[in-house]
Amino acid sequence: MGPTTGPLTARLAIMGVVVCITQIAAVSQITLFGAHADVVPIVVALCGLLLGSLPGAVIGFACGFFVDCALIQTMGLSSLLYLSIGYGAGRLRELRDPQAAVVPAVVGGAATAIVTVGYSLMQFMLGTPVAVTGLLIGQIIVTILVNTLLSLPVYAGVRRWLVPVLPDDPRRRRRRAQTTRLSPLSRA
C-alpha cells in the first residue's frame, strides 16, 4: 500500500457520494434539449483515466451500487455497466496513455454511450419491454452530446480534486519524460 492510498481512497469515496447524490437530486431533474445529463459515468470513466483500470473498476462498481440503492432499482445493473467503463478507461490509459486535450471529452462521450445503450439493452434482456423508438434514439444521442460537452469541465474538477493525492500525476509524468529526452548524456 503506497503512502497516498489512504487519502486517495477517502477522496474517491467523498467524490463518489457527492457526485451520485448531486446526480440523483439535481442533475437528473434538469432537462436539456429533451434529455438529461448523467455525470456519474463521466466521473467514473475519468477516474479510470486518471488512476488506472483497477481503481476505475472499483469506483465504478461502488457508484453503481450506490445509485441502485438510492433509486431502489434492480441491483447490480448499474454496477456492471459502471465498472466496465471505469475498467475500460483505465486500460486505455495503461495501454495508450493518450495525452490529447480532447481525450476526456471523447472518453466521457464513449462512457455515456456505453451506459445508455447498455442499460437499454440489459433492460431488454431482463424482460422489460423496451421499444427502439426514434425518441429513445434521439435522447440517447442528445445525452451523449451533452455529456461529451460536460466531460471537459468535469475532468478539470475531478483532476483538481484528486491531483494532491495522485500517485503518478500525468502532467508530472509528461514533464519528466521530456527532460529525459532532451538530456540523453545525463544518463552517462
Binding site: 447524490i21 448531486t22 446526480q23 440523483i24 437530486a25 439535481a26 442533475v27 437528473s28 431533474q29 434538469i30 432537462t31 436539456l32 434539449f33 429533451g34 434529455a35 438529461h36 448523467d38 456519474v40 483500470s53 483497477l54 473498476a57 472499483v58 462498481f61 453503481g64 451500487f65 450506490f66 445509485v67 441502485d68 440503492c69 438510492a70 433509486l71 431502489i72 432499482q73 434492480t74 441491483m75 447490480g76 445493473l77 454496477s79 456492471l80 465498472l83 475498467y87 495503461e94 445508455t116 442499460y119 437499454s120 433492460q123 431482463l126 422489460t128 419491454p129 423496451v130 421499444a131 427502439v132 423508438t133 425518441l135 429513445l136 435522447q139 440517447i140 445525452t143
Partner: protein, 288 residues
C-alpha cells in the same frame, strides 16, 4: 510494463466485481430479502441527504431548467395553441349540451366525487430521479409518516403520474406510468370504452390502451381518464385510483377496428419534468 503479479491481481479484482454484480442482479430478480434489506437500509440513510441536496441545489436546477424550458417552450407553443383552439370549440359545445340536457346537478355530483380534496391529498416534492432514459421511478420526500401506503395513486395538475411503490418513514419511491410494470384501468371520457393502460416502453410520450372490447371504436383525440377500478382490486372494493383523473389523449390507433387494435395515447403528464406531485392517500368512493 506490469509484472505478472499485478496483472493477476487486476484480473482477479475485475472478475470478483463482475461476479458480485451478477450475483446482485440474480438476487435482486430472485426477490432475495437480504439484498432488499441492504437496499432499503442504504435508501433510509441516503434519502434525507437527497432531500437536503435537492433543496440546496434547487436554484441551480431552476437556472439550468430555465434554459431548457425556454428552448422547449417555442416548440410547445404551437401545440398548445392548437389544443387551445380545439378545447375552446369543445367547451362551447359542451356548455351548450349541458344547458340542453339539464344535467348540472349530476355533473356537480361527479365533480364532487372526483374532487381530490376528499381523497386525502398529500403534496410531495421530487427529490430524486433515475438517470436512465426509460423514466421509471422517482423519489419523493413524503413517507409512511405522512399517510403514504404502497399502491396509492400519484397525480399532478396535469393528471395521473404513477403509483407509490416503496414507502419508508420519510420518503417513498413512485413508479411512473411510463414504467412497463405500471397498469391502470381506464375509459374514454366521452364514450366510456373501457381498457387497460400500460407503457409502450422506450418512449415516455406514448402509452398503450388495450380495450376490453376488442373492436371498440376509440377516435383519435379522445381523452382517456381513470375508470376508478384497478386490475388488482377485489370486486366491490373501492379503488386507490379515483375515477376521471386524466391520463392522456389518443394520438393514433394501430389496426383500428380489428381484434388486435392498439390505442396509443400521449400522457398529459410530462414525466421528465416532475417537480411536485400529489399522493391520494384515501380510497376513492364507488363509481359514480
Amino acid at each position: 510494463m506490469y509484472d505478472p503479479k499485478t496483472i493477476r491481481r487486476r484480473r482477479a479484482v475485475l472478475a470478483l466485481l463482475v461476479v458480485s454484480s451478477v450475483v446482485l442482479l440474480t438476487a435482486s430478480f430472485g426477490g432475495n430479502g437480504g439484498v432488499g434489506s441492504v437496499q432499503r437500509g442504504v435508501f433510509e440513510i441516503v434519502s434525507p441527504i437527497q432531500d437536503v441536496a435537492s433543496r440546496s441545489l434547487k436554484p441551480f436546477r431552476d437556472l439550468f431548467g430555465w434554459f431548457g424550458d425556454t428552448w422547449e417552450a417555442k416548440g410547445e407553443n404551437e401545440d398548445l395553441e392548437k389544443d387551445r383552439d380545439g378545447l375552446r370549440a369543445r367547451n362551447i359545445k359542451l356548455q351548450s349540451d349541458l344547458r340542453k340536457a339539464g344535467v348540472d346537478a349530476q355533473l356537480t355530483k361527479v365533480v364532487n366525487d372526483a374532487a381530490l380534496q376528499n381523497l386525502g391529498p398529500v403534496e410531495a416534492r421530487v427529490i430524486g430521479a433515475g438517470g436512465t432514459l426509460l423514466f421509471e421511478k422517482i423519489t419523493i420526500n413524503k413517507g409512511s409518516g405522512d399517510g403514504l401506503r404502497k399502491g396509492q395513486a400519484v397525480v399532478t395538475a396535469g393528471g395521473l403520474a404513477g403509483k407509490v411503490e416503496e414507502v419508508f418513514s420519510g420518503s417513498a419511491t413512485v413508479t411512473l406510468l411510463t414504467d412497463s410494470k405500471f397498469g391502470v384501468q381506464a375509459r374514454t371520457a366521452r364514450t366510456g370504452t373501457v381498457g387497460t393502460i400500460t407503457a409502450s416502453g422506450g418512449n415516455p410520450e406514448d402509452l398503450v390502451m388495450e380495450t376490453t372490447e376488442p373492436k371498440a371504436s376509440v377516435p383519435v383525440g379522445s381523452t382517456i381518464v381513470t375508470r376508478g377500478t384497478s386490475p388488482d382490486a377485489r370486486p366491490g372494493q373501492p379503488s386507490l385510483y379515483p375515477p376521471d383523473i386524466g391520463i392522456g389523449r389518443v394520438s393514433r390507433v394501430d389496426d383500428a377496428g380489428t381484434d388486435t387494435q392498439r390505442v396509443h395515447l400521449k400522457p398529459f403528464v410530462n414525466v421528465r419534468d416532475l417537480e411536485k406531485v400529489i399522493i391520494l392517500t384515501r380510497e376513492a368512493g364507488p363509481l359514480p
